[in-house]
Subunit: 146 residues, 2 copies
DNA sequence: CCTAATGTCTCTAGCAACTATATGTTCAAG
DNA sequence: CTTGAACATATAGTTGCTAGAGACATTAGG
């Protein structure tokens, strides 16, 4: 049996985060020792590693909640899990596309800064006037990049 | 003079967000009409557009605060603005790199899902076992992608 | 066996950057 | 002159944690 600290270290998750996951119901309530400390077995470690890994991949906790509830019922079709992963992939792709154009714009901003005065600063100038953009970053619905 | 709604529409920023920016001091306190409604001129619109655009580029409000205070004193060197933009560029590049490897992994996850049962689901399997990753996404310091 | 250090417990509050909700006031159109 | 949209304030909620306070548990050293 692992204490919360060992568990966190094994899974690469901080202790308060583990408690937080329990609090919001992503992890089941842990067994307790005689002295009221949380104790975890191998199953909890696997579940936490799953969560950690999915977070790394950019899944939201809500998506992870869905994936976990799917994997808790292993005899159903994998279509739902596939759909979640595909949605995640689509989101990653769109973030990628946006970031690439941002990178291009930032590079344009940065090149010409050779110590001039602010008044001539390309950075400030570009930021002040959207029409100088090469690409169009308008968002459909208040969506901002993270 | 524009009311807050027109201003927001012009700049592509929602009304509560404009008020929020005023509250945290990114925008100066607006003039008020006889009936206590905020009124904005062209300068405020430009400042808001600047903020909006910088947010689109992924700058934090703190970075934007710095950029704004730089542009308020236009006779200094543009080195500081350049540094902020370069830091932003570096961050964008690192996000890009991570996202590209995530994309690859998600694609690997998704391909093999042809309606099998959850028990054999590649999505769940890959998420459950980090060792199946082609690439290594471990973070140096608890840093998670947004 | 005792002590000191570390680890754990709960609870609350804070972070970014907004967004939503509730309740009330002002303004412009018909 | 009335109605309804747009405005005002204030508070609380969102996501995914992180940090702090103050008290109890456990473990390693002497």
């Amino acid at each position: 049996m692992l204490t919360i600290g060992k568990l966190g270290a094994e899974a690469g998750v901080k202790v308060p985060t583990v408690r937080y996951y329990e609090q919001i119901g992503l992890l089941p309530k842990a067994e307790r020792s005689a002295g009221n400390q949380r104790l975890y077995g191998r199953k909890a470690l696997e579940r936490l590693a799953f969560i950690r890994h999915a977070r790394d991949l950019g899944f939201t906790l809500e998506a992870i909640r869905d994936l976990l509830s799917l994997s808790d019922r292993p005899d159903q079709s994998c279509a739902a899990a596939d759909a979640i992963a595909k949605a995640q992939l689509a989101e990653v792709e769109s973030r990628l596309a946006r970031l690439m154009s941002l990178k291009a714009e930032l590079e344009r901003m940065v090149v010409q800064c050779a110590g001039g005065r602010i008044a001539d600063c390309r950075v400030i100038e570009v930021l002040g006037d959207h029409s100088l953009c090469a690409t169009d970053h308008r968002h459909p619905e208040g969506e901002h990049i993270a």
